[in-house]
């Protein structure tokens, strides 16, 4: 009988198996050169953009695009011959397009930071604008009142549009009543309502009739009109993704239709419904026109949703950005920066809430 013996090295390597990820591609010459071919034209164009006055569209179409094609063609030919050109076109398009959107986003945020960061400070977030004139230095005053206003208005709009939107989606996907085509049509038509029209509508039927002042409530109503179609249509798509097996399974347990929707279908679509709400909020949070009309303006902090006109971040920006005072303009840009950060925070929160998969 023979015993198998390993030399110590093999034995050790057998005993200490390392976790690896063999499916991860290792960078090779091809990818490297194609990536270079993407980065170099982008760098050249970025440099041109920063140093010259060539307008961006011309820069992109006349300089970037040809440069990019030539660069990627050379890269592909150099590594794989003519065969590689098709590959490179696809990769270049993919990377280039993603790079482009990243550049757009970064430059938006960049311009906000460049022009607005000097206005942002703790007191900028918490103080209101009482006794603050456009020429007041940045050491005083802030947009606390506008932030409170925006949050209040968006909250009211969500309170109204989210239940109605989800109910609409439930009607379309779960109830499947006879009016579904009409409901769908109206939701679609609503999503085409220009925001200023929503504001005018509320101004006419709520404010001008004397039912309510210009207020957070009136502004929230205008926002709700704009949010509703987004929430309803996204929620509809999401509910459609819930497998029918789950509905049948619930019904087979002696569940009513209503309980099936409330306890099984909507919870199963929870993450998606949160996304629907996020998209609804994102749709409205920067809308200015409806609030100019329905919510008005105020230098004071207002928390009563019905009482008086109320400030909001978009209207604050609108009122300050075109003033002939550098500090006022800086405040406007600073507010825009805060608004974007606020949106980011809301989205992150919603994602975290949506991630916990199992709940009661």
């Amino acid at each position: 009988m023979s015993t198998i013996t390993f030399d110590p090295e093999t034995l050790e390597s057998l005993q200490q198996q390392k976790s690896t990820r063999p499916w991860r591609k290792k960078p090779n010459r091809f990818t490297a050169s194609v990536t270079l071919a993407v980065v170099i034209p982008a760098l050249i164009v970025s440099a041109l953009y920063l140093t010259s006055d060539i307008p961006v569209p011309i820069l992109l179409v006349v300089i970037y695009l040809p440069l990019q094609l030539i660069a990627s063609g050379i890269a592909a030919w150099a590594t794989k011959g003519t065969r590689g050109i098709a590959d490179s076109v696809i990769i270049v398009n993919a990377i280039g397009a993603s790079l482009f959107s990243v550049i757009v986003l970064v430059s938006i945020i960049g311009s906000l930071i460049v022009r607005g960061l000097r206005a942002v400070s703790p007191h900028f977030l918490f103080q209101n604008s009482v006794y603050i004139s456009p020429s007041t230095p940045l050491d005083y005053g802030g947009i606390g009142h506008s932030l409170v206003g925006t949050l209040l208005i968006v909250f009211i709009a969500s309170l109204i549009s989210v239940p109605i939107g989800i109910a609409t989606a439930v009607y379309i996907t779960e109830v499947r009543g006879r009016a579904v085509p009409y409901v769908r049509f109206f939701v679609q038509a609503m999503s085409g309502v220009p925001s200023v029209v929503a504001g005018l509508f509320i101004l006419t039927i709520v404010v001008a009739t004397g039912a309510f002042n210009q207020s957070a409530f009136a502004g929230g109503l205008a926002y709700a009109i704009l949010m509703l179609p987004t929430v309803a249509r996204t929620a509809e798509e999401v509910l459609k993704l819930v497998p029918d097996d789950l509905r049948t399974g619930a019904l087979a347990l002696g569940s009513t239709r209503a309980r099936t929707v409330l306890r099984v279908v909507i919870p199963a679509a929870r993450t998606g419904i949160i996304t629907a709400i996020i998209l609804g909020v994102a749709r409205v949070i920067g809308e200015t026109a409806p609030l100019l009309l329905a919510a008005g303006n105020n230098d004071q902090t207002v928390v009563n949703p019905f009482g008086s006109p109320i400030s909001s971040v978009p209207t604050y920006i609108f009122n300050n950005v075109a003033l002939p005072y550098p500090d006022a303009v800086a405040r406007a840009w600073g507010s825009a920066l805060v608004l974007i950060i606020l949106v980011a925070i809301l989205f992150t929160l919603a994602r975290i809430i949506g991630r916990g998969r199992v709940g009661r």
């Binding site: 509905r247 087979a252 347990l253 309980r259 306890r263 099984v264 199963a268 199992v358």
Partner: protein, 281 residues
Amino acid sequence: MSTAEFEDVMDLDIEGVEASTAHPAGPTEMESRDVSVWFGQRKVLEGVNIAFPKNTVTALIGPSGCGKSTFIRTLNRLHELIPGAALAGSVLYEGKDIYDAAVDPVHIRLQIGMVFQKPNPFPSMTIRGNVLSGLKLSGMKRANHDDIVEETLTAAGLWNEVKDRLGNAAGDLSGGQQQRLVIARALAVQPHVLLMDEPCSALDPASTLKIEETIRELSKEVTIIIVTHNMQQAVRVSDYTAFFLSEEGTPGHVVEQGATTEIFGNPQEQRTLDYVNGRFG
């Protein structure tokens, strides 16, 4: 169960089988009378007449696509949920037509439970939540939820695998575990009739035997109707068997039915003999 016993059961010789002793045919609990079924214009079942005696197990067998699932779904009024579905004939439960206008389908489905071909646990609920979901969804009151969870999961052969993680998401279970979970879920509402559509098609042999044991145990109190492609299983668990067939595009119908021992041991029809011996389908 020991390995030897296990092999014994798996190696059952079909021709000369000694099937589980048929319960004496008691009162009929469910009955389908002349049931025909359409999807849109297409007729998929024709004139199905089967009586299901109380507290017995009936196996529905037949080749794929012959309408077994469709038939079983007419028995708890799930069929009507499919747009374009139509039905003729009547289904009697405790002597009354469940398709009567005065009958609430929700009430019917609470008493006639179902386990589906594909496991469908509720992804938003925990393992425990899934077992108890029937109680919540139907508004049924039962005390001692902890005991219900343990009892039903044990009967479904899942308790030992999940007893330490009842709070985990049901979606994290394997396919076979999910199937056993939905069996436990169906048991928790204590149905009078249990419809099982190929409940073991996703299960390993050991879990399959566990489920079969449970079926035999349950059949003391529950009327069970089970669709299966597994001939040994039909022999092992059922008292009665109905053989469905849909020949060359014609609607499916029952070719032969009767005591399981008769259908497998001494079928009257050549087609039944061929099918149960695996010569077609």
